[in-house]
């Protein structure tokens, strides 16, 4: 059976979207593993029902494998899980109101579960993270310099990096890289030509936009949750 990964992020408390995705995945052929790459919470809506569902999946749900994202990092900071630091970046950029909304959106009883989430997963030769291997808040996009992308891949020692922070969906292959290195030290000179094998960075999207990854063929499919149903009912063409 085909092995597929479903990569989801940015639900921000939206249980309806999560249920739509679960419904989609039931109809998707293959042996599917569901990864939720952070931002399960956010300040916009109450997140308790979604969190409860992620922790206690319904019997016919696909088991979600979650890591923490930028919003989880903010609430952990704000709740004292990261030493003396607080969510200052959030406070400065979005204001005290948003900090308050975030605190109100998540029941304190979920904080220990959030705090136990990992920064990322390494599956096969793939890294699954929220931002980048450097920082949970780093945006990787099509416009990120390839040298930076390569560095973020190297830090995790993976050939493919799945990232969510930018909310964008893309599949960028680094097909070939070469650089000449010459080192001079007290023992003399040495030259080396370094090449990189093919690597890729994949933006998985956020919210309703998620990604299916076919592990065997290395193909990605960018999906919108409930799209097929919507099409049938409303007759929309491919957007």
């Amino acid at each position: 059976m085909i092995e597929r990964w479903a990569l989801v992020s940015g639900l921000k408390g939206d249980l309806d979207t999560y249920e739509l995705i679960q419904k989609d995945l039931k109809k998707t052929p293959g042996n599917i593993t569901l990864f939720v790459l952070g931002d399960m919470i956010g300040p916009e809506k109450n997140c308790n029902r979604l969190l409860h569902r992620l922790i206690n999946p319904k019997s016919n749900d696909l088991q979600p494998w979650c890591i923490y994202g930028w919003w989880e990092e903010q609430i952990l900071l704000e709740s004292g899980y990261r030493g003396d630091q607080r969510a200052e970046a959030l406070r400065i950029n979005k204001g005290e109101e948003v900090v308050k909304s975030l605190n109100n959106a998540v029941d304190k009883s979920f904080l220990d579960w959030i705090a136990a989430l990992q920064f990322g997963f390494v599956e096969l030769d793939c890294g699954l993270i929220h931002g980048s291997s450097k920082d949970v808040g780093e945006n990787l996009t099509l416009d990120t310099p390839p040298l930076t992308l390569l560095d973020r891949l190297t830090r995790l020692q993976v050939n493919r990096l799945f990232t969510a922070r930018s909310k964008q969906q893309f599949h960028l292959e680094l097909t070939e890289g070469i650089v000449n290195s010459e080192v001079e030290d007290l023992n003399g000179n040495r030259k080396k030509e370094q090449k990189v094998p093919q690597k890729a960075v994949i933006g998985i999207g956020a919210g309703k936009n998620y990604t299916l990854y076919d592990v065997g063929t290395d193909n990605t499919q960018f999906v919108q949750a409930g799209y097929k149903t919507e099409k049938r009912i409303k007759g929309f063409g491919r957007l």
Binding site: L142, P145, L147, D151, V179, N180, V183, D185, L186
Partner: protein
């Protein structure tokens, strides 16, 4: 014009004096220091005061940071548990010895210094604790210089001097699964960049016993590694007299100690 770059003085006064003398004899007045004024060695206050006296611009090193902020460096700074124990002892000894004024001086050192196309840091532009080893992944090395918007990156921290040139680089990229369907391909040329490690004045670990530093000529753009002899016996005696671990004296006399070489130098300190 020639500029001298020194690093990792490690409270070894005879070595610092010998190197400053060597620089003076070449008529060089432009000196930059990459930190680690203290740690391991027996004369922390004396070395700081000499650098302050000479008004030598200095970045903050990993030891300078830890002596001020407390030992919160992640374990990656130490290659072994034994080295860690000795390091902690030296840390405590140095903290006790330093005057308040000198601690304040270390606390206020900048993380990096920029002069035109040159960037000076202790470890890497990411962290005082990151090792940029001479044979690390060439793309990762280039990324450190490029993201720091420099042409030459001067660093220390490894205690092994080297000059590395990264040239003729390119990366080809292809957008797969694009909407609209046409795949886009392009090749990006990478600029030529250099990393220069100044080695160590007071705690050499290049296999020999001489203090090292580098001289850069900004007209020819050439970099030379300088090796300087100093009175090692004098420093060793001071180490013993101060009650510091005798192995600190032993390794100065013998050149290096395998146990002190970083095991996983590619590890990026995330603290």
């Amino acid at each position: 014009m020639n500029q001298a770059v020194i690093s990792c003085l490690h409270a070894n006064l005879p070595a610092v004096e010998a190197v400053l003398k060597d620089i003076e004899l070449q008529g060089i007045t432009n000196i930059t220091c990459l930190g680690d004024l203290v740690g391991y060695g027996p004369q922390p206050n004396e070395v700081i005061e000499l650098i302050r006296d000479k008004k030598i611009p200095t970045c903050q090193g990993c030891w300078d940071e830890d002596v001020v902020d407390g030992l919160d460096a992640c374990d990656c700074s130490y290659p072994s548990q034994l080295a860690e124990k000795r390091g902690h002892f030296a840390h405590q000894w140095t903290t006790d010895k330093l005057t308040k004024e000198n601690k304040d001086y270390l606390a206020n050192l900048p993380y990096s210094i920029r002069k035109d196309k040159c960037l000076f840091v202790h470890g890497s532009p990411n962290s005082q604790h990151e090792y940029l080893l001479p044979d690390m992944d060439a793309f990762a090395a280039l990324e450190r210089v490029e993201n720091a918007r420099a042409e030459i990156l001067f660093c220390g921290h490894t205690h092994q001097p080297y000059i590395r040139e990264l040239a003729d680089g390119s990366i080809a990229v292809k957008i797969k699964n694009a909407v609209p369907k046409d795949t886009q391909e392009k090749e990006i040329q990478l600029p030529m960049r250099r990393i220069v490690n100044a080695g160590s004045v007071g705690e050499p670990r290049h296999g020999g016993t001489k203090a090292t530093y580098v001289v850069h000529n900004d007209v020819t753009n050439k970099v030379k590694i300088r090796e300087v002899e100093y009175d090692i016996e004098l420093t060793c005696k001071a180490i013993i007299d101060a009650g510091l671990p005798p192995i600190f004296a032993w390794r100065l006399k013998n050149g290096f100690e395998f146990a002190e070489q970083a095991e996983d130098a590619s590890h990026v300190c995330e603290r």
